[in-house]
């Protein structure tokens, strides 16, 4: 009996201990990144973010080209992905609950979600990039091919499954009796979506956009492979560039000096803080939405 009580206590302790360890991981991650970034922060302070030059040879590190690359690719991808994600969510949640079209779209989205990032990148590099290059030649602009645009398109394809899944979840949280009421008043499918479902899920859809943005910001491999990896600030989306994630992927193993390494890690720190914030806010909105939707 004594032994049982002991093992029971030990078991509870293990459970709690595991909880504490898991809770500590992101905290430790944050501390690690901060500590490792200290040399870069000491050297540049806030100027790190605003400086345009990234020159390992002269040991000058400024993150502006990568910040710009990350923001522009992510937002462009969001804009490109939005109509598709939104339509997919509508199709799956209401328009065609049953039927082959819905089934095909559903499996397509699931399969897209399962394709590894590096394969997207490879495909983009060998199929999409040459295509863009041809278009650029035809349009008479420098035919880089690898570009901010290529990265945005690949990113857009990659976030469609994620964004549409969240949007669908949000729409399915709306109490069905509200939709029923709208139909009972003679509303058509379209009118019920337009005037009841979408207005009721505004905040949830916004959260979905935020979470998709969080995804896009941190996406590394596919972007790295098609963006062209230049550390010069791009002046339009047909030029090559780099994102925070892609420059880390590219240069981390080559970083010989401490300051170089520390600057790359500071990029990682910025990326972590921004994505964590975005995720936190997005999840919070969805949780509120869930409570509101299920309540009454």
């Amino acid at each position: 009996m004594n032994k049982e009580i002991f093992s029971e206590k030990a078991f509870k302790l293990i459970l709690k201990g595991t909880g504490i360890v898991i809770f500590m991981i992101p905290a430790l991650l944050l501390v690690t990144l901060i500590v490792q970034s200290v040399p870069a922060v000491r050297a540049y302070g806030a100027g790190f973010i605003f400086r345009q030059t990234w020159d390992p040879v002269r040991e000058i590190y400024g993150a502006l080209p990568f910040l710009a690359g990350t923001l522009v690719t992510s937002f462009l991808a969001l804009i490109l992905a939005f109509p598709f994600s939104f339509s997919v969510a509508l199709i799956l949640s209401e328009y065609l609950k049953e039927g082959t079209a819905a089934a095909i779209v559903k499996s397509a989205v699931e399969l897209l979600a399962g394709i590894p990032s590096v394969i997207y990148g490879f495909w983009g590099l060998l199929v999409l990039v040459p295509l863009i290059r041809k278009l650029e030649l035809a349009a008479g602009i420098p035919p880089y091919g690898v570009s901010i645009l290529a990265a945005s398109i690949i990113l857009a394809i990659m976030i469609i499954p994620y964004a549409s899944t969240i949007a669908r979840e949000v729409m399915s949280m709306i109490p069905p009796d509200i939709k029923e009421a709208a139909y009972s008043l003679g509303g058509t499918h379209w009118e019920v979506q337009r005037k009841v479902v979408i207005p009721t899920s505004y905040s949830g859809i916004f959260a979905g956009v935020l979470l998709a943005l969080g995804r896009a910001l941190g996406e590394t491999m596919a972007v790295t492979m098609v963006i062209g990896n230049t550390n010069k600030l791009f002046s339009n989306i047909f030029e090559p560039g780099n994102t925070m994630a892609s420059v880390i992927a590219n240069e981390f193993t080559e970083a010989v000096s401490d300051l170089y390494l520390s600057s790359l890690i500071e990029l990682g720190l910025l990326l972590f803080i921004v994505t964590a914030l975005i995720n936190f806010i997005g999840r919070l909105i969805i949780k509120r939405f869930e409570v509101k939707g299920a309540g009454e």
């Binding site: 029923e180 009421a181 009972s184 008043l185 003679g186």
Partner: protein, 256 residues
Amino acid sequence: MSIKTEKPLLQLNNLSAYFHDKRILKDVNFSVENSKVVSIMGPSGCGKTTLIRCVNRMHEMSPGGTAAGSILLDGEDLNQLNTITVRRKIGMVFQRPNPFPTMTIYENVIAGYLLNGIKIPKKLSLEIVEDSLSKAALWDEVKDSLNKKGTYLSGGQQQRLCIARALAMNPEILLLDEPTSALDPKATSRIEELVVQLKKNVTILMVTHNIAQAARVSDDTAFMYLGELVEYGSTKEMFTVPKDKRTEEYLTGKFG
């Protein structure tokens, strides 16, 4: 051939309903005259909700929901009309109050118009709102807070708001699916009074589990059992001398 003036408002002919292959309603036949309150009773799962959802053609929206037979409104086959018209003429109120959470009280009343994109002059919409809320016996309580969200109201008030919302479309028939089952006794009796008053304007089909409620408000009663219409007739008669044994057992609380 019966005489024209006696033509019933609503007539169900051999109505059967299915969920996928499962037959839920079995050849239901009955007709409802103008300005009557008809209650629909029967044990849980016997198909009452399915029946009234067939009447405004909401049943066919449920996954796997199909129907056979015909329903005539003023002699016109509902299947020949589009669902927009059917649902305009036949309003519905649900078991749980469900005002639109994003809309104000005012907007909730004219939700049918907003939803359907029907533009009406401000003056007319004000009239519709006052008229419908008065008919639903809610006007006095909310006339000073028309711009508040509908979800601020109490459960009973919300349910009357939903009735007003249905009335605003000027329906010929109002379907009520256990409209008081989510309400407290006081709110329930207000709805019951309201139903009795409303029959001046609209014919009512009301599903209820409450035998006393059916006795208080309805002129006629339909008793259903396992998807069949067992007995249909004057409420008073049925409650005093039920013709079918199953009706009698239900009314005396043997099952259900």
